[in-house]
Amino acid sequence: MSLYLSTMRVFRFTFQNIFRNFWLSFVSMTVFVLTLLTVNCVIIMNVLASATLESVERKVEVTIYFNADATEDLVKGAQGYLLGLPQVRDVSYISDADALDAFMRANANDPLVLESLEELDRNPFGHSLVVSAHSSDDFPFILEAIETPEFSPFIKEKDTADYDRIIEGIQNLSTKVRWGGIALAGFFALVAMLIIFNTIRVAIYVHREEIGIMKLVGANDWFVRGPFILESLIYSAVAALVMLGLIALVLGAMQPWILRFFGDIDTSLSAYYWKNGLWIFGGQWIALSVLSLATTFIAMRRYLRV
């Protein structure tokens, strides 16, 4: 028999099976879609968690206080030097006058503090620089780099009191979220595998008599297995496409809400899916196909002994 003829017939039987067993096909495909939905929920949670952590990480700043005798030019020179470092994201200059002003505003309701300030005949604050980095891991390097002979004698204090604790906290949280995500994804993948295995097993069990008849009238393995294999591939492809559509719809609807909830955090899930969509949905289709094919073979071996 020509390969073309047999392949075309297997395709025809496959589509006949799908449409003549519409509800079984529908339920199987729904299970596939729900499985992918679970996987995509885990992906979305990971993207949002990573974006949140990154955003918090970006908000960590370190203030470098200069002595009162440090001139504005020197401090601005230090600002330029720091901005030249690739690890530095931004450096804000705060003049001594601005610092005094901010202090007075912050303590406007505390007359004792204001009176104490008036006792002094000069501005007790020096210039300062507020440094933010691309990654919290870069702070130790940045604070080391500023200790040059030119600037070091004028540095009064580096406000590192909290950043070690914050960064350590963020890194701990980040690691936990990542491992939590992997564990959750692993758990759902296992559940998905069991559900898909059972769905296909049931489908083949339902058809076992029919398959037995096919074999009794002389159908070879390809004719019997072919439609099941193709059905699995079609279910997987349809599920991946339905998921793609669902994600596009849901993200379109959710994006304004996400932006409102996360504020300025860069959580463009649509952009993430747009950039990685081929890998995400292609990978999901391939994974589903491999899983359903393996299940098909196992179930057929189990139930077909004609």
Binding site: L5, Q16, R20, E210, I213, K215, L216, G218, N220
Partner: protein, 227 residues
């Protein structure tokens, strides 16, 4: 045509369905295999189309020793032996035409051949006008005729019918037996497995009687002798 040499079929743990039986069926014969439930007659039928393999002994069909047939050769064997079952074994989601065509499709017959042969066999079994119906829309007798039509599409040299009238009333049973006789007259060897005394006695053909897995009698123009 069909030769069994000392064939034994053992099912674990302690059942010997067939005990070293030997027989020879000539081309064009009509042979009834009779016996009570559990006598081994269905096992014998299953051995002929390789649904079961013998534990010991040889089964030769034509020049082909099918005792140790390879898995991939089974479809080839089944396309050369027509098989009819008590429960018809029709594909419920295919029409009558599709059920019969399927047997040709799996053998790689071109579409034109299928379009020629299927209406012909349907006409032979008297179902030419019901080709688009599904099995559930037919009576038991009609379903069995579809099953026979399907078994004929390859023009088999051997037709094995395992209790083909088991689910039918007397009138439909008679129709089916008449159909098998006609097929036999065209030269096909027919092996009829049955426990229907009236059918066997009316046929007046060779009767092999099985009892407890052994051949109790093998008589040309025989009768149903079991009580």
């Amino acid at each position: 045509m069909i030769e069994l040499r000392n064939v034994t079929k053992h099912y674990a743990p302690h059942t010997n369905a067939l005990k070293s039986i030997s027989l020879h069926i000539r081309p064009g014969e009509f042979v009834s295999v009779v016996g009570q439930s559990g006598s081994g007659k269905t096992t014998l039928a299953k051995l002929l189309f390789a649904e079961e393999r013998p534990t010991k002994g040889k089964i030769i069909i034509g020049d082909w020793d099918i005792s140790a047939i390879h898995q991939h050769e089974i479809p080839i064997l089944r396309r050369q032996i027509g098989v009819v079952f008590q429960d018809y074994k029709l594909l419920q989601r295919k029409t009558i035409f599709e059920n019969i065509a399927f047997a040709l499709e799996v053998a790689g017959a071109p579409q034109k051949t299928i379009r020629d042969i299927v209406p012909n066999v349907l006409k032979i079994v008297g179902l030419g006008d019901k080709k688009d119906r599904y099995p559930r829309q037919l009576s038991g007798g009609e379903q069995q005729r579809v099953s026979i039509a399907r078994s004929l599409v390859h023009r088999p040299k051997i037709l094995v019918a395992d209790e083909p009238t088991g689910n039918l009333d007397a009138i439909h049973s008679h129709e089916i037996i008449e159909l098998l006789k006609r097929i036999n007259e065209y030269g096909t060897t027919v092996v009829l497995v049955t426990h229907d005394r009236e059918i066997v006695n009316a046929l007046k053909k060779r009767v092999i009687t099985l009892q407890d897995g052994e051949i109790a009698s093998d008589i040309e123009h025989g009768k149903y002798i079991l009580s």
